[in-house]
């Protein structure tokens, strides 16, 4: 079976486990399109992709190699394909483009761009450089160690971005967003029904915008940060671990204050939650205190 699939379309009837290894060249991307079943992507040092597929029923796994991509998809004989778990081992440089419907997506060790999207299922990705986009509708999204322009979205669950850096944009409706150990040069975090927290550097010239309707916002900063901060709430509260001097107060609970020369622009908005400024690193203690109280 080895190398038998190159370069034309090969359609394999899934009767037993598939285990194929296909050579790839720099610049080729991996495209995976799955209806149901899990996708697990790992990396290795070879310039080849190993595809291991576990059959969940009748259906086919199609592996197609073009000049620009290696694509793997499942097709059903009639109607949607049955559930198939696919494990892929790819070179770390390979750009990944993975989409599924009833699919959990797990990625580890990627060093290229990532686009991973599912509807019902979680996305858990480690790595990714350049454009990194991870999305789920019903499931949670967790991204660790990514660099570049990061887009992490869910609708009905939480989004976590850990130990990542770059321009970060993240949104959910009915979940919380947590960015810990992450270095955002610009940040947009939006939820309707969830809490937002960012614990990382606030860079000069950066724009940081955290906005929620029903949730709390926790931002780690200290007096040494240089930022113009704008805080807005309708029914919520504002609290700070250190004293701030309000430079402008507007009607309602809206006010601005400046730390240092104010080179970063920070906007914090919660319609009816609590907005807190905490010292860096203290967020977890605070959470734990909370847990102890309960």
């Amino acid at each position: 079976m080895l190398f038998a699939l190159v370069p034309a379309l090969a359609a394999l009837t899934l009767i037993q486990q598939i285990d194929s290894t296909v050579p790839v060249e720099k610049g080729q991307r991996l495209e995976v399109d799955l209806f149901a079943g899990d996708v697990d992507v790992k990396t290795w040092a070879k310039n080849a992709v190993r595809v291991v597929a576990d059959p969940g029923g009748p259906g086919r796994v199609e592996i197609e190699r073009s000049a620009t991509a290696l694509s793997v998809r499942t097709t059903g004989r009639r109607g949607p394909p049955s559930s198939t778990d696919i494990t892929l081992t790819v070179p770390a440089w390979m750009a990944l483009d993975i989409s599924g419907v009833n699919t959990d997506i797990t990625i580890a060790g990627a060093r290229g761009s990532i686009s991973a999207e599912t509807v019902q299922g979680d996305v858990t990705a480690e790595g990714g450089e350049g454009l990194v986009s991870v999305k789920s509708v019903q499931g949670g999204v967790s991204l660790t160690g990514a660099k570049g322009r990061i887009d992490a979205n869910s609708v009905n669950a939480d989004v976590e971005v850990h130990r990542s850096s770059g321009e970060i944009s993240t949104e959910t409706v009915n979940g919380s967003i947590e960015l810990v150990g992450t270095d955002a040069t610009t940040l947009t975090a939006t939820s309707v029904n969830g809490d937002l927290s960012y614990d990382g550097p606030v860079h000069a010239g950066g724009r940081y915008s955290l906005s929620t309707h029903n949730g709390d916002i926790t931002l780690a900063m200290d007096e040494k940060t240089s930022a113009a901060v704008s805080v807005s709430t309708f029914n919520g509260e504002f609290e700070s671990d250190f004293p701030v001097t309000l430079t402008e107060t507007r009607k309602g609970k809206r006010f601005n204050f400046t730390l240092g020369s104010g080179s970063a622009q920070v906007t914090l908005e919660s319609f009816q939650g609590t907005i807190s400024l905490v010292r860096p690193g203290s967020q977890h203690h605070r959470d734990r205190d909370h847990d102890d109280d309960e």
Partner: protein, 229 residues
């Protein structure tokens, strides 16, 4: 090489001659080798025209278009059809204009809403600078002017979702509807707050932002329907 009938050959070929002239021409063709030959050539020209292929542009023209409509140029991957292809980056200010909502960032960092007006087409980029004219609408006038376009976009997407919900998993439909309710509730609360304090820039921008989230989620839902079809 031409006689009176030569000029009618194209019409004959396209079946556009009245029956009598058609019959006359057909009888002429039997006796005129030149016209018959010309007709055969014209037929080949038409066949060749039908067979012409459109190979498309040599380069990718999308980045130029994306720049002009104010969208973020995307990689081909991002443009690929897939579930929930909308991210936060996709909804730039110019696209908000498409929904009839304009945000203008003033120098003080406050966000004001402008009514979109009839001239508000999603073009080029909206730079974060103060508006040149005194086009600052009161929130009330903004809502009156922009609401119909927003409502139309929402209604269109809701129709797509209603018609296509059968193609989606029932739990997905339930989750989408639940989240739409969450957003609707937030919109309602924001609306009431704006009604009580219509000059409050935060409340106005929060209302617009929440309305944007609804539009965004509806678009995502419509994309799921589209991907499932």
């Amino acid at each position: 090489m031409s006689d009176v009938w030569t000029d009618r050959l194209s019409e004959y070929l396209d079946d556009e001659l009245p029956p009598r002239e058609r019959a006359e021409l057909e009888s002429h063709l039997t006796g005129c080798a030149e016209c018959s030959a010309t007709l055969a050539e014209l037929r080949r020209v038409v066949a060749r025209a039908h067979a012409l292929e459109s190979t498309g542009p040599a380069g990718d023209l999308w980045p130029g278009i994306a720049a002009r409509i104010g969208a973020t140029p995307t990689s081909r991957t991002e443009g690929r059809r897939s579930a929930g292809a909308q991210g936060r980056f996709t909804f730039s200010l110019p696209q908000l204009l498409a929904a009839g909502i304009a945000l203008m960032v003033l120098s003080g960092g406050s966000v004001w809403l402008l009514h979109a007006g009839s001239a508000a087409t999603p073009v080029a980029s909206v730079s974060p600078q103060p508006p040149a004219d005194s086009g600052l609408g009161t929130p009330v006038s903004w809502q009156r002017r922009a609401a119909p376009r927003y409502d139309a976009a929402v209604a269109d997407l809701e129709r797509v979702l209603a018609e296509g919900r059968g193609r989606l998993d029932t739990t997905t439909v339930r989750v989408l509807e639940q989240n739409l309710r969450v957003i609707d509730q937030a919109i309602e609360q924001a609306r009431r707050a704006v009604a009580a304090d219509s000059a409050n820039a935060y409340l106005n921008s929060h209302l617009a932002e929440t309305m944007r989230q609804k539009l965004d989620l509806l678009r995502q839902a419509a994309s799921l329907v589209s991907a499932a079809s």
